[in-house]
Amino acid sequence: MTRSLPALLRASAERHPGRVAVSCGQQRLEYAQLLGRAASLATVLAGQGVRAGDRVAISIDKSVDVVVAVWGVLLAGAAYVPLDPGGPAERAGRILADCGLKHIVTSAARRGRLREIVAAGSPLRAAVLLDCDEPQARAELAPLAVALRGEVESAAPAAPVDCGGPGLAYILYTSGSTGQPKGVAISHAASLAFVEWAGDRFALTAEDAVSWHAPLQFDLSVFDLFASVRAGARIGVVTTGMSVFPQSLARWIESERITTWYSVPSILIQLARHGDLQARDLSALRQVLFAGEPFPAPRLRELMALLPAVRFHNLYGPTETNVCTWHAVVEPPAPDASVPIGIPVAGDVVHLVGEDGRPVAAGQLGEVAVTGPTLMQGYWNDAAKTAGVLRAWAPPGGRPETTYFTGDLGRWRADGVLEYHGRRDGMVKTRGYRVELGEVEAALHGHPDVGEAVAYPVPHDELGHRILAVVVAREGRTLDGASVRRACAEKLPAYMIPDEVEVASEPLPRTPNGKVDRRAIAERRARGGA
């Protein structure tokens, strides 16, 4: 059998059957129980028609059940596709259609939303409601075939299925510049290349307790869910609600004896500012990993001063590469410095490529281009977009290799460490999430009275960026910002909705080639002008 993620769970369940695999609030699931429940779910999924190579949606609020669902889908030989459980039904519908998803694993709390999705039309045929015992759910969700908790609990565990190597493990949908989310398809081999590197590099063992903070659709969850299980460590589930409250979070890190924390910088900045960390006993915490956006140096200094015994690591990599570089932050950075993204990991090779398609000279800015075992297979169902970023490229004198062009700009320091220098295009980061401004603008144009619309980022100390928008009404119509934001909420996840929508009475400024001039709009706002 080829190497695959499920082998990690089977091995840990054999070595540490009685160790806690996942904890959430008062709930605890041991390794043997996790494998048992996941393997029973795999049997139910197979009974509903899931075969090796299929894809299954998961839409459940952060809980022990999400972990069961992820492993259940993988044990069935299928790839999982996270659907933001709190996101708009319309966006979920577009992902279901794009991915041709016939199966979903969800929860009682998300029944109403699933009904909405089914009513609007989707390829779905069957659903598993992991925590629901109410038989009327079947009638409510007709014509879907519905399996309830009892069926999962009484199902015999599934035998191992060969799904490894080049087979897909998961598809993570990220923001797409045209308004259609794009699915990053990752194989077992690519996921394992990262997971094995990370487990070794951060020396995870069965004694560790690893936070799971990021939503499942965000690639940070790959480390939390898979590197932990490989080590036989405990996954501590950070519920979506708890992460809003720094004090609650700090107490949780203390009481769960978390050893390894991984998140975007914005949540760590909140913890440093409002978490009252000095009052907590965080002696178990040995390392903090962050990724997703640059960590402002002054904020990182504050955090490092509060946690002097902890080691800090910056991980870099678009979802398309899992993680491709890493930097150990040994000393607090100078307040005006940027935190480097480091050196390539897991057998990946990084090149900096100029506009002419050739490597840039030493010390020059270039596009970060990555080859190696951690790369995605491509965007699901979108050969054109895949061909745009995943190209055969050869360094001078080298062989052509499949290379992912990130759109990020980087510069090598003299000591061989890579620095990040922003984006080439309209993608921004807010709260560590990728946002294509084009997707926000497509949603703004979804309002029937919007004539012109532009979304633009403004830098923010804690969030990376806030997203703001300016709209102009169609001739003869009037607009108010609240109704435009409401229209966005029907299409976009919460973090993509502009924080403020300004209604302008003048046409938007244009660049000489006719594009809306985002820079002029951002500068006008910075000057405080209307």
Binding site: T240, P246, Q247, S248, R486
Partner: protein
């Protein structure tokens, strides 16, 4: 107080549409994140005349409308006795 809180949350975080029940968990869907929560906290302090210490700003005290009402009422009783404290 209950209805005022409900209206504020619906207007501010749900774009004026939808319903929320008294015991509904408000933070598990990600609609209110840490930045927008600060707006809610300011509104609670201003509109209900209480001042909260950061150590009281926890998920248990704010999880639902029921929890918020209990927190505000307890704080008002305490401050009535002259035991108020200022948020850090």
């Amino acid at each position: 107080m209950r209805e005022q809180l409900r209206k504020y949350i619906i207007d501010t975080f749900m774009y004026g549409e939808g319903k929320i029940t008294d015991d509904q968990q408000l933070f598990e869907t990600g609609v209110i994140d840490s930045l927008s929560f600060m707006k809610l906290l300011d509104a609670v302090e201003k509109d209900f005349g209480v001042s909260l210490d950061m150590s009281e700003v926890t998920i248990d005290n704010f999880a639902s409308i029921d929890a918020m009402v209990a927190t505000i009422e307890a704080k008002r009783a305490e401050q009535g006795k002259g035991g108020g404290s200022k948020r850090a």
